[in-house]
């Protein structure tokens, strides 16, 4: 397949324009030749007009394409483009005029063909200038466009299109219809020329440049118009190209809009600094409201704040003071002042009555900026603005001016807004940092939770003679409850349950110590009472003064079917006797570990040995279960546990445990929280004979 080269609109329209212009020149010259030689060339005026209109269209096509492509909001550049085209067209026109003046009455000067050629050149350049400028004006008019402006422009374009063909109707006569059409077009042009929204956005310097370019355009337009009128009066040009409504209206448009722009820019010059100031304020405001990144420091915000406020109020000096409790370290914000002058001014401010009352207010969030007059040789007025973050005054900003009463209401307003915004930014920054910190703590706690879970046995040692299960739940992320099992030999097993006083992190650390002590002592093959004595002396050395541990230890001998038990202040263990079908708490005397940290402890330890039978159940608990409260403030209590175990005695340890936990949750209530750590271990003895028979 043959691939067609993509059509380049710009080049194509330039080529077309040149061809049309050459055709126009040729047609006119041929006609002129016919007239001079008194021959009828048979070329009517309409052909010229059609070619002229075609020429306008191709120019419009080219500039519409190139202006739309190259202009990006730089107004001065745009004006320069229009002005430079104008200067070029004017320059050529001037050269032509000078040429004819210098020729005087020579033969060459009266040569009709040459004259016609120059006429066509000037016409083409003028048309280029007018059409390109009109399209540049379009860009300016439609800056910050709305529907209304677009409609106005479309109306104008349509009217211009009609004006192009007006020549067929009017036959190039200057009559009333021509005048009438001119008036209508002029009205539209005046309305359009009111759209000058681009001017305020020019900086002061740009405005001066624009004024120069606009002035050049006015001069060029004026001169070219005069030239064309001069051509129109001369009889030598057989078909008048330039007394054309379209061209006349374009002249009007270019001239009027340039004039309006020139005047408006001129009168905008004195106020342009205000507009620039407002623009800077808006940008500063945006900079302040962008929240500080977590890594940035707050000083940076105060830095921007001080600069913004100074430029907003045209201050001659300023500083920021931070109260000692303001939590911003090492801040030294001074502008155009030395330390000595700052001290001088601070002292002067302190002598002002209004400033004293202002500084000692107890409601900083209600504080308004304060204007103070000073008796200082240089700085005669100051403005004090409180910096209030989270209802706490962290400091103040002081702005100084060399004139008396130098701060007006607008300045105070904008500065107050700046300060509020900066304070919000700092506050947000602090909150964000806090949130990040909290998240880190949460993460640490999760790790602690995981580590602590690992301190409890994953698998409980037990022979076939008894079944066992255990459960533990901490009120906070970590807790102080502990349970464990240990196999001494084939026939002897140890069960332990312990509870550190208090809860949370401190309890968790002590629980870890307890595990260490218990695991070491258990291997020494001690009797339960001896175990408690040793544990007391070991833990007494490492527990905090007001902390203690309660524990229960059970040494189960499955060969003798006996249990040896000692209780160190721990919640009594429930023993269900299958034979009697009733249960009781094992309440032997005993003292918590770490309460007496001397030899006297030995007097408070007891040891009990009892026999067990198949079907007996041991329920080891911590006080979290007993003391769990419902909404009425009643405790779960010993009796409930007891009766629940009696009811469910024939179930497996796991089922009994689940039954107890479920009942506990029902008791506490749907969304009630159990305030303490709670744990339990359930042991059920089985008939080993029966099992061996299986």
């Amino acid at each position: 397949m043959v691939k067609l080269p993509s059509i380049h609109i710009g080049k194509l329209s330039v080529l077309l324009a040149i061809l049309v212009w050459l055709a126009l020149l040729f047609v006119d010259l041929v006609r002129l030749f016919g007239i001079i030689n008194e021959m009828d060339s048979g070329i009517s005026d309409e052909i010229t007009w059609i070619l002229e209109i075609l020429f306008f269209f191709t120019l419009y096509g080219f500039y519409n394409y190139s202006v739309g492509k190259n202009i990006q909001g730089d107004f001065v550049n745009l004006l320069w483009r229009a002005a430079s085209t104008g200067i070029f067209a004017t320059g050529i026109a001037l050269i032509t005029e000078l040429f004819y003046i210098s020729m005087g009455d020579s033969k060459l000067a009266t040569e009709p063909f040459l004259k016609n050629f120059f006429y066509h050149v000037n016409f083409a350049l003028t048309a280029i200038f007018l059409i390109s400028s009109a399209l540049l004006w379009k860009h300016l008019i439609l800056y910050q466009k709305n529907k209304k402006v677009v409609q106005q422009w479309q109306t104008f374009e349509f009217a211009m299109l009609l004006a192009m063909f007006f020549v067929f109707f009017n036959k190039n006569n200057f009559d009333y219809s021509f005048l009438f059409a001119m008036v209508i077009l002029f009205a539209i042009i005046i309305v359009l020329s009111g759209n000058l929204k681009w001017i305020p956005y020019l900086t002061f310097k740009e405005k001066w440049k624009s004024l120069l370019f606009l002035f050049l355009m006015l001069v060029c337009t004026g001169y070219l118009f005069k030239r064309l009128l001069a051509y129109g009066e001369a009889e030598i040009y057989q078909v008048n190209l330039t007394d054309n409504l379209f061209l006349m209206a374009l002249f009007m448009f270019i001239f009027t809009y340039a004039l309006f722009s020139f005047l408006v820019t001129l009168f905008n010059l004195p106020t342009s600094s205000v507009f620039e100031q407002k623009l800077t304020e808006a940008i500063n405001f945006q900079r302040l409201s962008q929240s500080i990144q977590p890594d940035d420091d707050e000083e940076q915000v105060l830095d921007i704040l001080l600069d913004s406020c100074m430029s907003a109020s045209y201050s001659d000096g300023a500083w920021i003071e931070i109260n000692p409790e303001g939590q911003i370290e090492g801040i030294n914000q001074l502008r155009f002042l030395d330390e000595a002058t700052k001290e001088e001014l601070s002292e002067l401010i302190k002598t002002q009555k209004s400033a004293i009352g202002w500084a000692s207010t107890d409601q900083p969030e209600m504080l308004q900026p304060l204007l103070v007059r000073l008796e200082h040789p240089r700085y005669e007025s100051t403005l004090l603005i409180p910096l209030v973050i989270n209802k706490v005054a962290i400091g103040r900003m002081v702005l100084c001016k060399e004139v008396r009463d130098g701060f007006n209401k607008e300045m105070v307003n904008i500065i107050s807004t700046f300060v509020r915004q900066a304070c919000i930014a700092v506050e947000n920054h602090r909150l964000l940092n806090q949130a990040i910190q909290n998240e880190r703590y949460q993460e640490e706690l999760k790790i602690a939770q995981r580590v602590q879970k690992a301190l409890l046995p994953a698998k409980l040692d037990h022979p076939d003679e008894f079944d066992i299960c255990a459960f533990s739940n901490a009120a906070d992320e970590v807790g102080g409850d502990y349970y464990d099992t240990y196999k001494l030999d084939e026939n002897r097993y140890v069960l332990i349950i312990g509870d550190v006083s208090g809860k949370g992190t401190s309890a968790a650390f002590h629980m870890a110590q307890m595990k260490g002590v218990f695991q070491s002592l258990i291997q020494l093959n001690l009797s339960p009472a001896q175990f408690m004595i040793k544990a007391n002396s070991a833990l007494g050395k490492c527990l905090e003064r007001n902390h203690f541990i309660t524990a229960s230890i059970f040494l189960i001998n499955i060969a003798e079917q006996k249990i040896c038990h000692s209780r160190a202040g721990h919640v009594p263990t429930l023993l269900y006797k299958a034979k009697e079908a009733k249960s009781d708490y094992l309440f032997s005397d005993g003292l918590g570990l770490g309460i007496l940290r001397n030899k006297q402890y030995e007097n408070h330890v007891q040891e009990e040995t009892f026999a067990y039978e198949s079907g007996d159940i041991l329920v080891l608990i911590t006080d979290g279960i007993v003391e769990a409260k419902n909404q009425k403030g009643q405790q779960f209590g010993f009796e409930r546990i007891k009766s629940l175990v009696e009811i469910h005695h024939d179930k497996s340890p796991k089922e009994i445990q689940n039954q107890l936990i479920d009942s506990l949750h029902v008791f506490v209530g749907g969304d009630g929280m159990i305030e303490d750590d709670y744990s339990m271990m359930v042991v059920k003895f089985q008939n080993s004979v029966a099992q061996t028979n299986q």
Binding site: L596, H604, E627
Partner: protein, 110 residues
Amino acid sequence: MLRLEKTKENRSDILSLFGEVDASNSVILDEAIQELVASGTKSLIIDGKNLEYISSAGLGVFMSYLEDFQDQEISMKICELTPRVFEVFRILGLDQLIPIYPDRAAAFAE
């Protein structure tokens, strides 16, 4: 919620407890006892008539003074505990270390 009331009777300082002692407010109880010790008391009676609940953290406060009081010869007695609170003292074994009386008169009598 815990409320404390300090009174003096028969040359003894009486600290009456109202409400509950738990981990969150055991510090208040500790401070109150410290103040009484600092004021030079030699006989301290804790009135538990209106004490509804005491957690292990609360018991830890009493426990932490045992040795100090022994050294400084300060007597600490507890009286009129509700059965529920008394049970807590008894389970831990503190009743073996701190004399507990059924009423104030009995505490004075000793």
